[in-house]
């Protein structure tokens, strides 16, 4: 009887023969760990980049977005729980889309990148890695939307093929992670620092939940940590909570709370702080940190105004704005 220890994420599940990890989709069959959703997504969509949200990465471009079943977190407020809190065998729809086919379809659909998203793509790691390698060969970028609960060794390997990450930093409190997400804070912070070290474009999202993680002092600590460890130019998104799944007892986040969080983060020195899930909010847009010029106007996922220069600078004061603004920044000019 051979058990296996999965070394992908900090859970370190010890999986007996015939059993599955906590993520439900990594299964021990005959003493070998199998990634049962490899090439088998259950969600396939074309989204705008702004939906990820990635605001400083190829803005306004369509992204071929996929997810399989399974997740290594169990957030009480999960908005994709029908996908994330199930195993592959429980899904009503499972598509066959192996890496070569995935890249071909993404390209045929006119997308310039592929996003591994919705559930946590960490759990379909091998599928992401093989697809991302192939995508690069076809000049498609790779976006990874994650809660960053991953061990260092697999993460460093993954960073070789990932171009942009939006990582959830769910709270700056270990107790919150344990109660609400079934995880811990430190591995997440370590993973974000590793991503920064590896040179991946990184944006951070904090979903602000009334009474649970909206304490101004906690938000200040979170913003300071992002500033000190990831850099003042790291975009930070404060998203509005909507009651769902097992957390229907709390109201949506008041807009004033998000405004206050944004002010705290700016006071901490962060240059690009956004408010998400509030249609038409001024905090959806990008402004020059030097002279306040509106650079990219957004309403929802739509871009309504674009004033950045071709090389990503403010047109009035020439301030460089951090980000990846053109495919050529990743792959060089078209051959």
């Amino acid at each position: 009887m051979t058990a296996v220890t999965c070394e992908l994420c900090p859970r370190g599940c010890v999986i007996p023969e015939g059993g599955a990890g906590d993520c439900r989709i990594r299964v021990n069959l005959g003493g070998r760990l199998r990634a049962t959703t490899y090439g088998r997504p259950s969600a396939v969509h074309i989204d705008p980049m702004e939906k990820k949200p990635l605001y400083h990465f190829l803005p306004g471009t369509p992204v071929f977005s996929i997810a399989t079943a399974g997740c290594n977190l169990h957030c009480l407020n999960c908005q994709n729980w029908q996908l994330s809190q199930r195993g592959g065998e429980e899904m009503e729809e499972v598509y066959r889309l192996d890496p070569p086919e995935l890249v071909r379809v993404a390209k045929d659909e006119g997308c310039r990148s592929i996003a591994y998203t919705y559930s946590d793509p960490i759990v379909f790691y091998e599928y992401v890695f093989d697809s991302a390698e192939r995508a690069h060969a076809e000049r498609l970028a790779n976006c990874f939307i994650t809660a960053a609960y991953i061990n260092e060794r697999p993460l460093r390997k993954l960073c070789r093929v990932i171009d942009a990450v939006n990582a959830d930093l769910k709270a700056f409190d270990d107790g919150f992670y344990r109660r609400v997400n079934g995880a811990t804070l430190k591995p997440v912070l370590d993973a974000l620092v590793t991503m920064r070290e590896e040179g991946v474009w990184l944006e951070v999202t904090n979903l602000v939940i009334p009474t649970l993680n909206d304490d101004p002092a906690m938000i200040r600590r979170l913003a300071r940590w992002v500033h000190d460890e990831l850099g003042a130019g790291t975009p930070l998104h404060f998203s509005r909570f909507q009651p769902q799944y097992r957390m229907r007892n709390l109201p949506p986040t008041p807009v004033e709370t998000l405004d206050r969080a944004r002010r705290e983060a700016k006071d901490a020195g962060l240059e690009h702080v956004y408010v998400g899930n509030v249609l038409g909010h001024a905090g959806n847009s990008t402004y020059c940190p030097n002279d306040g010029t509106l650079l990219i106007g957004r309403v929802g996922f739509m871009i309504t105004h674009y004033a950045l220069t071709a090389d990503g600078r403010c047109p009035s004061c020439n301030e460089p704005i951090p980000g990846v603004w053109r495919s050529a920044d990743l792959f060089g000019d078209e051959p």
Binding site: M1, T2, A3, V4, T5, C6, E7, L8, P16, R26, L29, G31, R32, L33, R34, A35, T36, T37, Y38, G39, R40, V44, G88, E89, E90, M91, E92, E93, V94, Y95, R96, Y125, E126, Y127, F129, N151, R153, P154
Partner: protein, 62 residues
């Protein structure tokens, strides 16, 4: 002051019938597209057996 609307007097009965037929024809043309099948899902039990990276086997037998 007049009670006459500034809009036109409206379509004749013949035009109304033609519009109705046109609408039905458009609907007929659109139906196959509306009913376009999604990619065929696999039976749920058809899962991959791809070997995972990053794991360590160990013998539990004592």
């Amino acid at each position: 002051m007049t009670t006459e609307s500034h809009r036109s007097a409206g379509p004749t009965a013949r035009r109304r019938i033609l519009r109705l037929l046109g609408g039905l024809a458009t609907l007929g043309l659109a139906l196959p597209w509306l009913k376009r099948p999604a990619p065929e899902p696999l039976p749920p039990q058809v899962l991959s057996l791809r070997e995972a990276d990053f794991y360590r086997p160990h013998d539990l037998a004592g």
